[in-house]
């Protein structure tokens, strides 16, 4: 069960644990259900508690960004830990995503 928090018009989604091939499909399905229930406003995904991410997790985030962009909504990521940040750097996606150090910065942008 993915935890969420509504702050004004923005929705924060808290991901945790492993985002690997075994769990990513389930996470993607849950996020899609959340987005259907919250059809407006920008979305912040807090990755502070994601301990491991493979390319399967990256694919989920790209898919979420695609859905939001199609509806003129923004996806913002925050609190990437060091191994997760490294993946974004290695595949040169740091510039493609809006990435913030803290949740407050993401919400304020």
């Amino acid at each position: 069960m993915i935890r969420t928090k509504q702050v004004g018009e923005q929705l924060i989604i808290y991901l945790r644990g492993r985002l690997d091939v075994q769990l990513s499909a389930e996470v993607e399905r849950e996020i899609n259900e959340i987005l259907e229930k919250h059809p407006k406003g920008d979305v912040v995904i807090n990755l502070a508690e994601v301990e491991y991410m493979s390319s399967s997790g990256l694919r989920v985030l790209v898919a979420v960004m695609r859905i939001l962009k199609a509806n003129s909504r923004r996806l913002k990521l925050c609190q990437l830990n060091s191994p997760v940040r490294k993946i974004f750097e290695v595949v040169e996606l740091m510039d493609m995503f809006d990435i913030y150090e803290t949740e407050e910065e993401a919400l304020a942008s």
Binding site: R18, V21, Q22, S55, V62, R66, P83, I87, M96
Partner: protein
């Protein structure tokens, strides 16, 4: 020289076991955290590719009877990983670089895994002989 070998089922449920096996082995061998994280992720991506692509079109019975053999070898400052399987030939070298614009347009899904492996490891090779696929990953350790 250190060598260990383990067989895994052809199932995505095995991926956490692949990670645990590689992580505990490299940790016992004294590999640094940074190098260890790179090798664990590369092994995850390689095994995932074998399960999803080499065995994607393969029937259930064969998926259950086949295994993926993973060998870890450390000699001086080099770690070599060899994954052997008997699925459909899948040459990672032919996978194009990921294109985020195509992904966002919904015209392509993924392509990040092979790019991650190429970037995190010093060298990757693929061989197919007598129906056996070998994915070979080399990492020159930084410390």
């Amino acid at each position: 020289m250190f060598v260990v070998r383990h067989n895994f089922q052809v199932d995505v449920k095995e991926i956490p076991k692949v990670k645990s096996f590689v992580e505990s082995t490299l940790s016992n061998w004294g590999v640094s955290r940074e190098d260890l994280d790179d090798i664990v992720l590369a092994c995850d991506e390689a095994a995932t590719n074998i399960i999803l692509h080499a065995y994607g079109p393969v029937d259930e019975a064969r998926r259950k009877s086949d295994t993926i053999e993973l060998t870890l070898r450390k000699k001086r400052n080099v770690v070599e990983v060899i994954l052997r399987d008997r699925g459909i030939s899948f040459d990672m070298a032919k996978v194009p670089l990921p294109d985020i614009r195509l992904n966002l347009a919904g015209k392509r899904r993924g392509g990040f895994g092979v790019h991650l492996m190429r970037s995190l490891m010093s060298r990757i090779r693929y061989q197919c002989r007598d129906g056996e696929n070998r994915t070979i990953l080399l990492k020159r350790l930084s410390s």
